[in-house]
Amino acid sequence: MSTSVFTRLHLRDRIRDRDTAVYSILLILALVFPMASIYATDGTALVSQATRAGTFVLLAIGLNVVVGFAGLLDLGYAAFYAIGAYSYALFASTQLASSPAHHAFHLPFWLMLFVALFVAAAAGAVLGFPTLRLRGDYLAIVTLGFGEIVPQLFYNFDQWTGGINAVGGIDQPTLPAWIQGPWSGDGPFQVVRNFNFGGDPVAFYVLICILIAAAIILVNNLYRSRLGRAWMAIREDEVAAAAMGINTVTTKLLAFGIGASFSGFAGAFYGANVSLVSPDSFLFIVSITVLVMVVLGGMGNISGVIIGALVLYYVVYYLIPGLPENVRSLANSIGLSSETTRSLADATQHLNYIIYGGILVAMMLLRPQGLLPSRVREQELKHAAVQEEEAAVEMEHAT
């Protein structure tokens, strides 16, 4: 008995240690990355890429609450992302001027960030309320259906949303005047760089880092709270959890709503960053990509999910699209003829899907529990296995 308590304590420490290490590394990377990449490439393309990756990190953290903590499979997460993005886009652009409302709204980004959060959470609750009593994968199908319907609705109501023409020219966030004082900008007292979101990818980068940090702190606290434990209980055994007095519907609804709210957050940010919101940006493939990020990183473990999101973003948006070009320059540099180079690059281009599919399968086969699995879950599983074995041994002894 005493040994088990000891290992438990020890385990806790180890989890803290590992997470602290991962977070510190991430923090340092986040600080160094913009300077290093701007210095190395003499441009901000990599910083913009990192910002886009950050949006996915935010999404993955949110989906992790639903899938990793509460164990609800959500195949339509992009729907909430779309709702968040559109709620900012419609109220911070000239779009509604040409709609039946005949009035353009230009609400501030900082307000809309939270409005989008609540709108997405409300959408999650509305969807979740009648359907959360569905068990297991039936719920997954409902979310899948929801994910299919929402972008189509944004497309169909083109009077309001512009349909396929998308909402463009979305307002950029501005900082209040007291922050943009004489110490910023190009004036003689310049201390900080002009913190202008309009043309500066670094500003968005800083913002997404702050948002991610806030999300991590929030989710970590949730996870350690009573609610977090309730989620875990439901994930492991819903019937037993209900028997222990957990209100399963409310708990699941909260997971759904909180998960959705993060994507609302991410959606509003995406709208401001890309300045263009089109129904085609929120298709099923986005939901799938975020889900893969969560599972790949290690469900239920926030730091793992972040790593998963970054790794997969890098693979999908950087490594694979860049492969033909890399092959081309490699072939060039080793002196192959331009004809061979071209056909090699073409071949790589045609292999894109195979490579991506292969990476997914290989990664899952090598690490079925994810890159950085949740230690608690891992240990629980091991613990259960050991107990079973012990029980079997005891049985043998008894007979």
Binding site: A40, Q49, G162, I164, N165, Y317, P321, G322
Partner: protein, 432 residues
């Protein structure tokens, strides 16, 4: 610990690849140095690759003739395909990559209007010249009713950085509407669009003109490639509403010509019309078994009907001999690349050295009377070309070998004797 080491190896490999990815491209040795031009095209599609070939051909010719004012032009083709179809996101990423390399002074492209719409706002503040050989959505340059945005908003108040060498859907659609109503005598039509920016735009301009001529639109339906494979219910709806023909707004990569085949499956024999998105071999293939009487417009003059282009086409065919290497917009891309290089040349002269993007943009804006192979281009202040010719083609089946060789229109890759044959052209620059 094996696992952990595997992870480290993976991470290291990732970092290394990242570092490599950041610094692609190398320089070629030339007298004064190199200037890069890019293109952003969906090269995973046949149409996009054919356009890229046109640019490559123009650059190769120019470099063989000594480059631009002593500079060697280096051409890099960026691909805006993501998972097999064009993507505005991918296009934006590509433009960002070009903007971050100061050697890039301009680009040819994009191919799809939706991509252009996403790219212009990023390129405009940096005065980065974009010349599209194939964008036909009018909203990109014209402030007209029915657009969801204004061109000046797209450029965020900056000077215009976007030109195109083809004319717009507001000419393509009406040209076909006039042709259908007056020449083919069709007074009632069903319209189907593929829910893309291009498809919706061109179908809208067709509908407007067709109605103003006095025609009736039986029904206007839309579909999405990934959702619809069976068009028979939609087509039956058209037929039952009294339509005597079908106009489609869309492109072959959205399977726009599959309905043509299925018209036969419901026993409906009527003309099938569309814009430049269906003047492709893929379209003829999709219509397999029911190819004849597909009418298509092309937003430019037929290169073979222009005397000046014959030589260029013959030279191109020698350099790029594949069956799909030449497409409907290859020569337009060739002209676009040459117009860009001409502007760069003038800017080099003025700057007496490597010019800035702003200088190239200013020179491009001054372009007048540029002699391309298709015609002589003037550009208005919005970036639209003065050449406003729309050609009309129709698929004719069972052509003789000689006729196939002469025709400029593409043929099916399966049914090789069914090709687009030039019918007539509308010149909107001259008042009718």
């Amino acid at each position: 610990m094996v696992r952990a080491r595997g992870l480290i190896v993976l991470t290291t490999a990732t970092l290394v690849a990242f570092a490599c990815g950041g610094t692609t491209g190398g320089g070629g040795g030339a007298s004064k140095g190199t200037i890069k031009i890019g293109s952003d095209l969906p090269v995973c599609t046949i149409g996009g690759q054919a356009v890229s070939n046109g640019v490559q051909f123009a650059v190769n010719q120019k470099n063989a003739a000594g480059g631009v004012e002593g500079y060697t032009i280096q051409y890099q083709s960026f691909d805006d395909c993501r998972q097999g179809a064009y993507s505005a996101d991918a296009g934006v990423d590509n433009v960002r990559k070009m903007l971050d390399d100061n050697k890039f002074l301009g680009m040819v492209g994009p191919y799809n209007s939706a991509v252009a719409k996403a790219e212009i706002p990023i390129a405009a503040p940096k005065h980065f010249v974009m010349i599209s050989p194939a964008n036909t959505n009018p909203c990109l340059t014209k402030d007209i009713a029915g657009c969801a945005y204004h061109p000046q908003d797209l450029r965020a108040g900056n000077a215009n950085n976007y030109w195109r060498v083809v004319t717009t859907d507001d000419y393509q659609g009406p040209a076909m509407a006039t042709y259908a109503y007056k020449t083919l005598g069709i007074k009632n039509i069903g319209i189907l669009d593929d829910s893309t920016v291009f498809g919706v735009g061109i179908a809208g301009s067709f509908e407007q003109q067709f109605k103003s001529l006095g025609g009736t639109v039986a029904k206007h339906s839309e579909y999405k490639k990934e959702q619809t494979s069976d068009f028979k219910s939609i087509l039956l709806g058209f037929k039952n509403a009294g339509a005597l023909g079908v106009y489609v707004g869309g492109t072959d990569d959205q399977n726009i010509c599959i309905p043509r085949k299925q018209m036969k499956d419901i026993g409906w024999d009527a003309p099938f019309m569309g814009g430049d998105g269906i003047e492709t071999s893929d379209c003829v293939d999709q219509a397999s078994g029911n190819e004849p009487n597909i009418y298509a417009t092309s937003a430019g003059a037929d290169a073979t009907k222009v005397d000046g282009a014959k030589q260029a086409i013959a030279d191109f065919r020698k350099a790029f001999s594949g069956p799909n290497d030449f497409g409907g917009y290859t020569m337009q891309a060739y002209d676009a690349a040459n117009a860009l290089m001409a502007a760069i040349g003038r800017a080099v002269k003025n700057a007496n050295g490597t010019p800035s993007r702003e200088q190239v943009r200013a020179e491009m804006a001054k372009t007048t009377g540029f002699k391309g192979v298709i015609g002589t281009y003037d550009f208005d202040k919005n970036g639209d070309t003065s050449l406003k010719i729309v050609s009309i083609y129709v698929v004719t089946g069972s052509l003789s070998d000689a006729a196939i060789k002469d025709s400029t229109g593409v043929c099916g890759s399966k049914t090789k004797n069914a090709c687009f044959v030039w019918k007539t052209q509308f010149d909107f620059a001259k008042p009718a």
